[in-house]
């Protein structure tokens, strides 16, 4: 590029230089150079044309290929294909062998007894639920209810006992209609000797005592534990 700037081409040589360029670019055939009249009278353009033609002729020479070159190429290609096929086969075989080994290892590690495999795992023992916190109020209420029920079971028969005895003794103390021919003299005397306490039976649980007991239970249930 610098040479071009330092050595400008004369206007008369311009068209010849352009033709040389077009021939080098294969835009025009070499014959256009022989048809150019300018180089006949211009030594510089004659040299330019001669250089260009020599360059084209030089590079147009076919390259000599030694005999048997194609055979050596084909032999090398065939060898290369064999080697690549062997490598592929080895890789495939190696992969298959590895897959088989892995499959065998998995198969051998499986459990023998199918039922064992099917059994569900032992249940995890559950810890007992923690006892609920003791509430004192509730416990007192339960205790009073139990006492009330028990007193009824005790007091009601006790309350009924004297009436039962009285009914029995009254019946016996009344002058019964003695059947003709029976003598109640000794039995009547024994009944008359029963002490009054016995006649009255157990100490009666009257309303007063019952009320006092109920009052006791009420006071107990009203007690609130200190929190």
């Amino acid at each position: 590029m610098n040479a071009q700037l330092n050595n400008p081409i004369s206007p008369e040589c311009g068209p010849t230089v352009d033709r040389i360029q077009s021939v080098l670019d294969r835009v025009h055939p070499v014959s256009v150079l022989s048809a150019d009249p300018h180089p006949v009278s211009c030594e510089a353009c004659r040299d330019r044309v001669r250089s260009a033609l020599q360059m084209l002729e030089l590079f147009a020479e076919p390259v000599a290929v030694r005999p048997g070159f194609a055979d050596s190429i084909l032999a090398e290609v065939a060898h290369d294909r064999r080697v690549r096929f062997q490598r592929k086969a080895a890789a495939v075989f190696g992969g298959f062998a590895m897959a088989t080994a892995i499959g065998l290892a998995l198969w051998m590690n499986q459990p023998k007894d199918p039922s064992v495999a099917k059994q569900s795992p032992a249940p995890v023992p559950q810890q007992p639920a923690p006892a609920p916190p003791i509430r004192v109020n509730e416990e007192f209420a339960k205790a009073t209810d139990a006492l009330r029920e028990s007193t009824r079971a005790v007091t009601e028969p006790a309350a009924n006992a004297p009436r039962l005895v009285a009914s029995l003794t009254d019946t016996l103390l009344k002058t019964p209609t003695v059947p003709v021919g029976y003598d109640l003299g000794p039995a009547g005397k024994s009944l008359a000797d029963i002490p009054d306490a016995a006649k009255s039976g157990l100490e009666p649980v009257g309303n007063t005592a019952q009320k006092a007991f109920n009052r006791l239970l009420r006071d107990v249930t009203a007690m609130k534990p200190k929190t």
Partner: protein, 181 residues
């Protein structure tokens, strides 16, 4: 036989088709490798590797595109790799000792020898484009596809390569002042 038909037969495993593919492109591939590597023996080794990769990658070739630029693109890449390995390899002196003598045998071939020497002195990417265009006769579009560059870049590099070659010839006294554009 079209490129697509040839590739189909090669993929089908036909030995005759494989041979035809090699013979169709071996001159271009070897010529390119020689011009880029400046070493016949290295060029044949690289050319062999090029065809190995061509057959390995044949399935990936786009049938809608021409086959030659695709093959030459592989050749360019292999040559670049070889040049890179060479730069890390033996000392330059050893390499120059093995390099062929490019001086012309007589004066009649002085220009040709100097042109070759000037092309050899180009930077690799300029040389690739120059050789592909002038020696292998590839179009700008095919060169652009082979080296994976835009067409504009190819034209620019080609122009710069010509300028450098002509400048070399001028310094040798083989080109007049006022070089070709």
């Amino acid at each position: 036989m079209s490129d697509a038909a040839l590739v189909r037969r090669c993929l089908a495993g036909e030995t005759a088709a494989a041979r035809e593919l090699v013979e169709r492109f071996q001159s271009d591939v070897i010529g390119l490798c020689i011009r880029l590597l400046n070493h016949r023996h290295d060029a044949e080794d690289v050319a062999q590797e090029v065809f190995l990769r061509v057959f390995r990658s044949l399935k990936k070739w786009d049938a809608s595109r021409p086959l030659k630029p695709w093959v030459l693109g592989i050749a360019v890449n292999r040559c670049r790799t070889a040049i890179g390995k060479r730069a890390k390899g033996p000392e330059l002196a050893d390499y120059l000792h093995e390099a062929p003598d490019r001086r012309p045998a007589d004066d009649s071939h002085e220009m040709a020898g100097e042109i070759r020497a000037a092309v050899d002195a180009l930077r690799p990417d300029y040389r690739e484009v120059f050789v592909l265009f002038h020696e292998r006769g590839q179009a700008y579009e095919d060169i652009a596809e082979a080296i994976d560059r835009p067409v504009g870049t190819v034209k620019t590099w080609l122009h710069r390569a010509r300028v450098e070659v002509m400048e070399q010839l001028r310094t040798k006294g083989l080109m007049p002042e006022g070089e070709v554009k």
